[in-house]
């Protein structure tokens, strides 16, 4: 039997809902006393739909988690947003502590929760390698030993002594990933890092991950990209509302996950405005709306429907535009669209112009008979001056395109492809036959 390197036992994490710093000072002081006496009292503005208890102001982001990971496994952790994936990763990378239970680990854990943590724009690439490596727990001599390899892998050797503020975002990410990839931890946590960088670099990263696992090291891989999960992982865990809903072979895990999302009715996600974030732009809602204005995540294939983003602009004169990416859960990207005047079919009065302060909603219409049946996921951005991210909500909302049987008079099998448009066909006789 292979060696167990991670053992999760009865793990639970409770968050307390509520806003920060409300109530009187004396209440706060009481709370504070309760807290330093050792009661978990994590006040946080939380925006995900976790399981709630009767009090309604506490909920368990993770509940009763039990699983083991063997050495050399590549474990895919999948689940919808709010299912507890990030909480689990945060506990594993020791950013936060569990409320109950424990995790036992053999060997060093390094996480790629966010590559490039601690990069300082004024420091050169080389200096940042040392800083970033040290933050990730390497000693100076360890980094020195791997410096050439890291620089080589990153492909930015020509600019290695330039401050990283002059790097393109691609170079920045490549350098950051290069450091992380050479940490050589026994256990590596990878979270959606593959969403960045160009195709060639992604291939390099996937290759590196494979290589790492062949050396007998363990990888926990979290992704919304089911294709990548299927390709890379050997085992899968599906999280649903803080609990494990499936554990086993990766193929079945992906299947379970896709079935889970199919029966998800939710087609609206809202975020409460949090004054502490100080963001000039905040997304407050993302919805899928049917033609009759009802909220529904299940759309029949022939129906027109809308994807809507609602956001607050707190800065007068921001040049904003909205941008969506639609991804098919099992296959990958389908299309992206933004309300820029040259890229849309109509005229949008708020297309990258100066927005006054206020709340806005931006609606994109997706025509019927366009997307094939299946589950889709939306990522939304509010962009500033076309290229900068003012606010984002990645991989949050899903919807399903259901087959209504209207195209099924002749053929009942699976239609190939991510789109299933009804196109114009014209067949005519162009000549005589030969028999």
């Amino acid at each position: 039997m292979s060696k167990v390197v991670i053992s999760v036992e009865d793990l639970g994490k409770k968050y307390r809902l509520g806003s920060f710093g409300t109530g009187s000072l004396s209440q706060d002081l009481n709370q504070w006393w309760a807290k330093i006496r050792g009661k978990e009292n994590a006040l946080k503005i939380v925006d995900f739909q976790g399981p709630k208890n009767a009090d309604n102001d506490e909920f368990w982001a993770l509940e009763n988690l039990n699983f083991e990971v063997n050495q050399g496994d590549i474990l895919g952790i999948i689940g919808k947003n709010g299912a507890g994936k990030s909480t689990l990763l945060k506990i594993l990378s020791r950013v936060t502590t569990p409320t109950l239970g424990e995790i036992k680990v053999k060997g060093r854990i390094a996480s790629l929760l966010e590559v490039g943590t601690g990069f300082h724009p004024e420091l050169t690439g080389r200096e940042n390698i040392f800083l970033n490596g040290a933050i990730m727990g390497m000693t100076k001599s360890e980094i020195k030993g791997k410096l050439d390899e890291i620089i080589d892998f990153s492909g930015v050797e020509r600019h290695i002594d330039t401050p990283v503020k002059r790097y393109s975002s691609g170079m920045y990410v490549r350098l950051a990933f290069a450091v992380a990839a050479h940490l050589e931890p026994e256990i590596l946590i990878v979270d959606e890092v593959l969403a960045v960088g160009d195709a060639e670099f992604q291939k390099k990263c996937l290759g590196k991950m494979k290589e790492v696992s062949h050396q007998g090291r363990t990888i926990l891989f979290v992704s919304h990209n089911m294709t990548a999960v299927k390709k890379l992982c050997s085992k899968g865990i599906v999280l649903k509302q803080g609990k494990i809903s499936f554990e086993g072979r990766v193929g079945e895990a992906v299947e379970t996950y896709l079935n889970l999302s199919l029966f998800e009715e939710k087609s609206e996600i809202t975020w409460s405005y949090s004054p502490h974030a100080f963001n000039p732009v905040q997304i407050t809602a993302l919805r899928v709306i049917r033609e009759d204005n009802s909220l529904s995540g299940n759309i029949y294939i022939h129906e027109d429907f809308f994807v809507e983003i609602e956001f607050l602009n707190n800065k007068e004169g921001n040049h904003l535009s909205s941008y969506f990416e639609v991804r098919k859960l099992s296959e990958g990207g389908v299309f992206s669209s933004a309300n820029w005047s040259s890229a849309i079919a109509n005229v949008d009065p708020f297309s990258n112009c100066a927005y006054p302060k206020g709340k806005f909603k931006s609606r994109m219409k997706i025509p019927g008979n366009y997307l094939n049946e299946g589950s889709y996921e939306i990522s939304a951005w509010v962009l500033e001056n076309i290229s900068a991210t003012a606010a984002e909500a990645k991989n949050t909302l899903t919807f399903n395109i259901l087959d209504d049987g209207k195209m099924r008079d002749e053929y009942v099998g699976e239609w190939f492809g991510v789109v299933r448009p009804k196109l114009e066909w014209l067949t005519s006789q162009v000549g005589p036959g030969y028999y």
């Binding site: 083991e68 109950l100 424990e102 060997g107 933050i135």
Partner: protein, 286 residues
Amino acid sequence: MPKSKEKEKWSLIIKPKTGWFDFQPYDIWRYRDLLMMFVKRDFISVYKQTILGPLWFIIQPMLTTIMFIVVFDQVAGIPTDGAPPALFYLSGLVIWNYFSTCISKTATTFTANSAIFGKVYFPRLIMPLSNVVSALIGFGIQLLLLFLLILYFFFFLGVNLHFNSYILIVPVILLIVAALGLGFGIIISSLTTKYRDLTHLVTFGIQLLMYATPVIYPLSFFSGKYKLLILANPLTSLIEIFRYALLGVGEFNIWYLSYSLIFTLLALSVGILLFNRIEKSFIDVI
């Protein structure tokens, strides 16, 4: 199901936060390279981000000293124990500046670094420790300025040099000041995770505290209950000793020093315990 493997050796056990005293100094030692990297980062960013760079470290105490000479020496006529006012004020300022930099930098540890703390684990105490070490850069520059000024007074104005063997105690004084600033700073930073507005109180409080510290007046200026009040400030004896070692004015009193030392150790211990406690849960609060 996994219960049967109790005997195996685990390198890390992640558990709910435990008692007050599970402080692990070894963990900090293991990350000492990171501490030095943070210091280097601070150093480089100071040089690169401003036009005058480290010159600010000189301009600020010089202008403040001139201001003090005008207001407290010329106008108010507060004595300086017979030392040249410029040297008297600057020597007080050098120590005071180091203390206030330590406290104000470390006081924002959690709020200023929440982004990085939310992503990676390392002993959080590394951050305030690196702040205290980085602040030595500014202190060093200002100390150099003070030495140059002392030499100037000696060679050109004929003021007597009072360098004596007590100068050997200066590093100790510095260490105590650093520990005191660190202790207060991490206590405040732990509390500000909950009460953001405490930072305003701190900025204001530090300003006021300077007037309760013998920066602009000597300890000998007071007597009776006011003297006791000033002596209650743990910085008082430290600045007095610093002046005594460098300028030969002020008071060296071993009891006052012991008081400061005990006070500092107490503040530092409370700070570390509190900080250690908060660092495990603050990311859910902030």
